[in-house]
């Protein structure tokens, strides 16, 4: 023992920092169509290779390849594209609204639009998604009214959440979108409980939950997976591995040591690792996991391998900690461009239609923002102050009654 060198302390570091270049050489990138697709009802023991691969469908030419190709009608693909483009346009405009002081906070999904859009479309109306703040495309794919979203973001008088919550921390029960909160990770287990309840009732609804790759380090992640595994909860548990958690790269969550999909093996559930910038791959993997869940075979963990192309939030400047051009080197491209190219390759889309779509959606966003502005922006309009005292409990107790009186509202 004594002739060994002393112990040394290891702290992982990302491939590149500002001023350097990240060529993403360490990520081995299997070709589209290469991964096998086991039957979704098979036992997990036969699938332990899957978490170490990468399910990709769309190839560089824009063609769908291999057994995971989901065979979608072009109309569905166009719906997906529309949701993604809308998400991006909405994000851009609301991000700017923050710069103009119209809201206290905003977060974009840039580069990750395929995820919420595809999964929202795969799941049924009665299913429930337990979102993070970065899957607003779920709502856009289900045509959540833009103006309601704007009102929430502006915390104005018509805010559907009555000014009680930070912008974009939505709740939209009728759209299968569970209440968000600022704490990361703490709803992951709710999804499992919700799914257990559906099974308990003998219903057919399943749950889908998101967690960021950084947040997988929370105990909540493990506890949710443990319960999902033990009780065969009918749910789909998704890790959106967008490479960054604010300024911390995925290695700080263990991403250098193994894949996030491999965490499924710890619970005896299938782990799929999926190209998150590939609308078709996300669709296919989700449909596979949903089929499994609905057949009482329990949960699946899906790692959605993607890249957070923008800053973490309006409070963040990513050039402080990663190369400014890192997104440009991301080997899996841009999800919007890739789906667009696919549709064009299929001759179901063209640049003109795309430009027209963008104009249409941008104008819809503008209209919604205008409408929200006409109600009021942050600090200029808000719900009645009495709303502050409502909803602490179902029925107010004497404390809030007295305090409301004291404040005179």
């Amino acid at each position: 023992m004594s002739n060994l060198p002393p112990l040394s302390f290891y702290v992982p570091e990302p491939a590149a920092r500002p001023g350097q270049t990240n060529l993403f050489s360490s990520s081995s990138m299997p070709a589209a169509g290469d991964m096998r697709r086991p039957d979704p009802l098979e036992a997990e023991a036969g699938m332990r290779d899957l978490p170490f691969g990468l399910i990709r469908v769309l190839d560089d030419e824009g063609l769908a390849a291999g057994p995971w190709a989901p065979q979608l009608a072009p109309g569905r693909l166009r719906d997906g594209l529309r949701a993604m483009v809308l998400t991006r346009l909405f994000d851009d405009r609301l991000f700017r609204a923050h710069r103009q002081g119209k809201t206290s906070f905003y977060m974009k999904s840039s580069g990750e639009e395929a995820i919420g859009a595809a999964q929202s479309m795969v799941l049924a109306a009665g299913d429930m998604c337990f979102p993070t703040y970065r899957v607003m495309s779920w709502l856009h794919a289900r045509n959540y009214p833009l103006v309601e979203m704007v009102n929430q973001i502006f915390s104005n008088e018509k805010d559907p959440l009555k000014g009680r919550q930070l912008p974009i921390l939505f709740s939209a029960r009728d759209y299968g979108f569970y209440s968000l909160s600022g704490n990361v990770g703490s709803r992951f287990g709710h999804a499992v409980g919700w799914a257990m309840a559906s099974a308990y009732k003998g219903d057919d609804r399943i749950a889908l939950a998101y967690i960021g790759e950084g947040t997988t380090a929370e105990g909540d992640f493990h506890e949710a997976l443990t319960f999902a595994s033990v009780y065969h909860a009918p749910c789909i548990l998704c890790v959106t591995n967008n490479q960054w958690a604010i300024s911390s790269y995925a290695g700080i969550a263990g991403g250098d040591e193994t894949t996030f999909a491999a965490k499924a093996i710890a619970y005896g559930i299938p782990g799929l690792r999926v190209d998150g910038n590939d609308f078709l791959a996300v669709w296919a993997a989700t449909a596979w996991a949903a089929e499994r869940a609905r057949a009482n075979k329990g949960a699946t963990l899906i790692e959605l391998y993607t890249y957070r192309a923008g800053g973490h939030s309006t409070s963040d400047d990513p050039t402080k900690y990663r190369p400014a051009d890192e997104a440009a080197h991301w080997p899996l491209g841009d999800p919007v461009e890739r789906l667009k190219k696919h549709l064009i390759t299929l001759r179901e889309w063209d640049e003109d239609r795309h430009a027209a779509l963008s104009v249409e959606l941008d104008s819809a966003v503008r209209t919604a923002v205008k409408e929200g502005e006409s109600v009021g922006t942050l600090g200029k309009s808000k719900p009645p102050v009495s709303e502050m005292f409502e909803g602490v409990f179902k029925e107010p107790d004497w404390r809030v009654v007295e305090q409301r009186r004291e404040l005179g509202v």
Binding site: P160, L161, K162, R164, Q165, L169, S171, A172, R173, Y178, S179, S181, N183, S186, R187, F188, G189, H190, A191, V192, G193, W194, A195, M196, A197, S198, Y200, K201, A207, G219, D220, E223, A224, T226, F227, V230, G391, V392, F393, K394, D397, W398
Partner: protein, 334 residues
Amino acid sequence: MNMIQALNSALDAKLAQDPETLIFGEDVGYFGGVFRVTDGLQKKHGLKRCFDAPISEGGIIATAIGMGAYGLRPIPEIQFADYILPAFDQLVSEAARLRYRSNGEFWAPITVRSPYGGGIFGGQTHSQSPEAIFAHITGLKTVIPSNPYDAKGLLIQAIEDDDPVIFLEPKRLYNGPFDGHHDRPVASWQGHPAAEVPEGLYRIPLGEASIVRTGEAVTVLAYGTMVHVALAAIHESDVDAELVDLRSIVPLDIEAIVASVRKTGRCVIIHEASRFGGFGGELSALVQERCFLHLEAPIERVCGWDTPYPHAFEWDYFPGPQRISAALTRVLEY
């Protein structure tokens, strides 16, 4: 019935009446719980109505919240209140805030049962009284019964309540009313009026204190085990005290408290938890704010000392009848 049987009866009645209720927690299923509160429920109502959970308090509460959001009324058990802490974030950031932040789209009608308190030589991590940290959390209710009759009626009400309730069971009272004289023979609930527990469903509203004893000289505020210890001290010191069993600390029966102290002009607050930052501080502040001109002596607090719960010194730590009597005397002689 003793308190265990009364709680079991409440759970049994709810499981029978409401298919949306279900119980889970560590060892609550086949075995029936380490304190036997869920004894026989799995056998009677089926594996899916009362089952074992992983040792993961955070996971238990998280899944319970998700079930609640779906529309069920889960009744999770945390084996000892000392072990609620790993679930504290779930209770505070999620259960307590879900209704508010979602503007009522989702809520968590869960009832978290947990044995708490000392007097059983359980050492630090089987004896603590964490009620104060729940009382401060907006959106949580905290209920603490002191006898079998109340335990059943309050538990049924808590389960039917649409908000999250922390239901703390004074484990030292499970088998008998404990008056704090640890060196005397153990009492049983047999023959105690509050041990007359009806079968079937009945309810006690949350937020209504119970006047255990009326009196004119001083108001004693207590809950859980300390109700019985206070009563013993009142008898022994022969003081005409009014003893108020709060029964729930959120919602708090402020009217009953204020009415009593305005009448007596004196107040002693008792809890097992350590004093500093404990719930007694809130009670003292409220009484002082609302009864200032009526107070003829300082409000006293008789509590556990400001140390961790010490195994061998359990009875030195416990705010027993002697310390309560001394406080009553001080307050009266002030």
